[in-house]
Symmetry: C5
Subunit: 354 residues, 5 copies
């Protein structure tokens, strides 16, 4: 099965706005968590799947509803209706084979991003889609699985650290997206460490497995690149456009994120060039290796083949071979042989073959 | 014969607007199917080739006339006159070696696209050209052969699923184009599965056929790329410009398609890089293979050539070779030989040749 | 002599607007042909080189004067004066090592293009420069040699086919340029056929000549690319700018040409990638070939060198070699040899070397 | 540990504007140096870390406060408060894994750049971050370590050379950034000398170490490129935008810097292509070397293997080998052998193998 | 010493506008030549280095002062003061490691370009910097050495050829820059001839020196490219901007130069691709050569090694080898050997190895 594109058969020709979940179901039962705060108050609780969601909102507080698991179509339908989310947008949220994007509708500003994680601690990266639906002082986040990306933000809200409790939902949206971009940089740092550390290895060894490792790393990086690139556009759009749901003061923070994502992409590109160069170096080393093997063969063959020939001469059974009867004929042959060998070694030495 | 460009000899120097069919005739007799609907009513029927087409239109319904087969010039001429399509546009519709494009004339908005299909289930892709001529609440679709791309949309119309029955012809045009873009994604998914699945194969084997397979896949992908790229421009034009025939509400759907085609192109590019990397990996593996073969040769030759030389020495017929007459001379020779062999093996072991 | 750039020594430091013919003289004596038409009338005749050219024009007819051969500086000077063409433009027309371009002066709209032709039916392409000087309802075309590119347009004028007789000189200019772009597509089709057809050849063989053929085809394509690329800009300029000499209605035709040239360039690029891929495939095949040759050598050497060694052992003349006196010693040796050979074959088989 | 990206773990999910030092601590205790001048007066002194910084400013003089060492968060916090620097900007100054940038806030124009230096005179480049905070006629520079980049400017201030004493802080900022760009050019000159000088070496030798050297040089250059590229944007922004803190007259100087940075980048790119070409040349030389080694082997083997075969023939013990009993049989064999050898040599000579 | 970047040590941290000559001194004593003309009059003379330069100007004539040699700082300082040239511009004129550029100040329009020349007629290109300082109806040209680039223009002035005597200094500036661009085309023509002519050589031979030659040619071309590229921008700026010192009528000429420089760059790029392709072809040929050498070795070894083995068998000294005593045993062995050889040859023939 293709990892980099999801099965879409079921979606062909469906009416736009039909709620179809494209992707694998990654957990059993969806979970909903609510955080509600203003400068003074703070509530954190689980929400039943069949609650009246719109009743949860509170004019005087910022409300953050996080939904883990998006395969439950009836739940998603309820979300769509309770928060009055346009069908086309809801369709994008459910289709996990989506391009990262930002969409503005009449009452919402929706950001859809990818995050990376590796299951079982191997290096095969998976992506998950996270959607941030900003409404009028509330924010809905929808994830495919229970993730721990947002925990630091929850901590900040609980502990009143920074300005987060004094700001509205638009700032919360920024803070959450910020953790995602940070996670990109962490992933790039991880990839980068691997690549920088294997540099010495690439210089020293040239095993066949190394070729495969380098190639698979490059494939992973292509995959990461595809997911990160569109985010630049998104942040740019957020800093350039005037979205009514984002307050003026929050724009500075988005500007800051723009620099962060540029830094991420440029660092990523540096490592991408490095892995390509390592592949090239590997290939050069293989050529060098062939060269070395050839030299050993040539030196051995070029020295011993002539000597064997000489021995062959005196192994012939002709009646009349004068040298055979010389008293020191045998030792003379050895003399000639050693001379030939020395000359050959000299010749290869001068060619700097060893 | 060239597959990627069609014979144009006949078109050289012809007056613009001359109706010339460039391409191969892909079916015997053209067929015309009409679907007419509004929220209440629904008609679906075959239409005779010599009907008065303009009389088929109905002010209160959306009319969709689908023509399979465009080689019948007299029919095409009739279509041109009945619907008052400008000659230059009609020429483009008939020339199947055309670039995908969108054209606006006074009364029509015409979109010309390519679709892919593979005959006989081999992997050699063919393209067909489909034109969408949007008029005043009617749409004409012209295909080269009887295709089944539009069946899901027909189903939606028949079953009143989604909003299609409540919208006008501009929405129908969007819905039809949407099925084409979906078919691109399906094709990319197919290509992607092949490429991802053969990754392991590329890592494991290095047969000569693999080189040819990889190369032919790359050629197919170049072909697909050439057909898909212009579609991005087309969709962009449709979302950016204000076309009088497209209602405001339909624009959102085109925006959605823009994301879809971007996703298609970026996924395609990911696979394009993958196939290129696979070709590179293949080449690296071949170098490695040469290296391996060389090592086997060198090890065998470097061990046995000196040994043969030693045997040769004692095969000479000199009168006076003292060693020959030693009691254990023969076994001594074996001893020396085994020693030489062991030293050599040790040497190659230290060089990590095996 | 350089084929891709023309000798310019004579032009160094000359005053701008000096009439200098840069390029080779390609015919003996210049020829001038006049076609004059309106809806009713039609004249076609040869014109003497020393006629008063301006007197040939007719207010009520469109006049097309075609000049074959531009090496005759006195003729060119006469043309310049009779039609009041600015010196700088005339200089460009005479310099055949020019970039394709469009120039607007006060009374003229001049397009300078390249056409390809191959002499003697070999595949070495030559270019010729053709200039189209549009004036007030007349057009001057200047070619380096007698060419047959314009014959189809002459035919259309003679036969009143299409609208050509009802339109003015600006339409004629479009029609003539159209034949040139068509000729580009024809050339690309020719190149494309060659490249597509040799695909199988590249897959099957790997002769040395193939490398040279592929390389020379690539060089030809670079040459074609350099000539075609600027034409895109020219057509774009013609569709975007408002030139007073071009009527509104003619703009549509230029738009159509823009699509044609884009199609030409994209098809060309497809073939350019194909030829590059073929070169790569060729190189991969050579590596494979080296690999194959090595395998044959290694198999032969690795089997027979040990066997020869064994024979060598029993060819030694030691006094005391017990095996030599065994009754079936010789056959025992054969047995050992066959065993060694079988083991080796088995080993290579398992390595899938054959 | 990764050299090209700094550990960010601690920064994940922190509130924006939190002061966190990302990077290694490069010195023990921070140092602060003050220079204050106008046309007449000049003061230079060390400042205690706990002084009231804002009291140091003087309306009639330009004040330059240089801080070496940015790991001391309490000091940084004091700086932030005393000079009223926005928290987001202060965060960027402390994060040494930042992209070079220019930021304008209400009262400050901040430029953050990278400089290169190599520790212990090896060729492994390190970067340090330097921030230039321009306020109302004062400038704050913050470095990671005690550097000597600014000494020439200090000299100019002390010696009243040029216009520096007659201009304001915005000019001082330009002068300081200028020394940084100059240091880029110096580094490029150093890299360039190495690359140009090793050209002959690359042509003459093909040791394995050379491959590694070339590769590591390329990696260093990728690193430099990543740091220098964004500076172009920064300077461009400074020349294009209207910053209230920069006087009109100073703009010309920034324009000049733009040319300098362009020159730096283009020269850098030239060397980047050169190193890539050297790597290619190296690879070609390795192929040539393999070819040479093969030729030696082939010549030796192809001459002596047939000769050994001939000797082998006459070493057989058949009862009836007529040649053995010819009087000059042995010498005849030599004759044949020499003939064979001469023919082979001739053959290889004609193939131009030596 | 680096050829592609000049030593800048002395310039680090200098105040902007300091007059420092960066580059090598290329002649002993500077020389100044004056040409002054209008339609009627013409003066040409040497000027003393200590004259009052501003007194040389004449309101009714165009004055051209050419200075050869820019190492004489006191002279340059005098020029700066007499003509009131801003210090920053004068600094650029003296720094020969500058990027080509155009600068407008209040009273001057300065163009700084590079020219190529090769000393001693080898193919190693050198650059020289030439500055064109246009003032109010006078022009100052400053060269590093006595060059002969401008002689054709002097001739035109002396002979009143073209319009040069009727136009002002801005036209003269154009005419002089034109000779420089022409010299670029001449250089490209020279490079192009070399590359086109060696094509056959590259196809026929594969000596090691060729690799080095190709590589060094590519390096030279990189160098040329770096110098020519910025000129495109300069000319573009001259055609797009409105410079008060340039008269309307002169703009057309600059437009013409734009086409010329585009043609230069595109032709250059064509040759650049050609040299890269030649390098590729060379590498392919080397692979082919390795292949050929391998084939010769394999054919010889694969035929003679088995034969030697057979001979070895019958060279053994077993007591009981029946074949040895057959009457025609020896000839039988020959028979078998010839058979083996023929089979092998057949096998290689079928593999098309020769």
């Amino acid at each position: 099965m293709a990892r980099f594109i999801k099965k879409r058969n079921q979606a062909i020709g469906k009416a736009p706005g039909s709620l179809i979940h494209i992707g694998k179901q990654k957990m059993d039962k969806s979970q909903i968590r609510l955080i509600q705060y203003n400068e003074q108050e703070f509530i954190e609780k689980e929400v039943e799947l069949d609650s009246d969601f719109s009743a949860l909102l509170d004019k005087n507080s910022t409300t953050w509803i996080n939904i883990d698991g998006l395969h439950d179509l009836s739940l998603m339908n309820k979300v769509k209706n309770d928060f009055d989310i346009p069908a086309l947008i809801m369709e994008d949220i459910l289709n996990t084979d989506n391009r990262s994007k930002v969409i503005e509708s009449r009452n919402h500003l929706v950001i859809i991003l990818k995050v990376f994680f590796s299951e079982n601690d191997n290096n095969v990266l998976q992506t998950e889609q996270i959607s941030f639906i900003l409404g009028d002082n509330y924010i809905l986040t929808v994830q495919e699985r229970i993730g721990d990306f947002f925990e630091p933000v929850r901590e900040r809200i609980r502990n009143r650290s920074g300005k987060i409790r004094t700001r509205k939902a638009d700032y919360l949206q920024y803070a959450l997206v910020d953790t995602i971009i940070d996670s990109y940089l962490l992933n790039i740092e991880k990839i980068g460490s691997i690549i920088e550390n294997q540099e010495e290895h690439v210089i020293k060894t040239d095993t066949k497995q190394l070729a495969e490792t380098l190639y698979m790393q490059k494939t992973e990086m292509n995959f990461v690149r595809k997911s990160i690139r569109p985010v630049k556009e998104i942040i740019l759009k957020l800093t350039k456009s005037e979205f009514s749901l984002i307050e003026r003061e929050t724009f500075n923070y988005w500007n800051d994120l723009e620099d962060l994502i540029l830094q991420a992409i440029e660092t990523f590109d540096l490592y991408y060039i490095m892995i390509s160069d390592q592949i090239n170096l590997y290939q050069t080393k293989i050529s060098n290796r062939v060269n070395d093997v050839m030299k050993v063969l040539t030196i051995f063959a070029s020295i011993f083949i002539p000597l064997t020939f000489i021995a062959g001469i005196y192994g012939t059974n002709f009646d009349n071979i004068p040298e055979l009867h010389f008293k020191y004929g045998y030792f003379g042959m050895w003399g000639v042989m050693i001379m030939v060998a020395v000359i050959m070694l000299f010749y290869f030495k001068r060619k700097r073959w060893f």
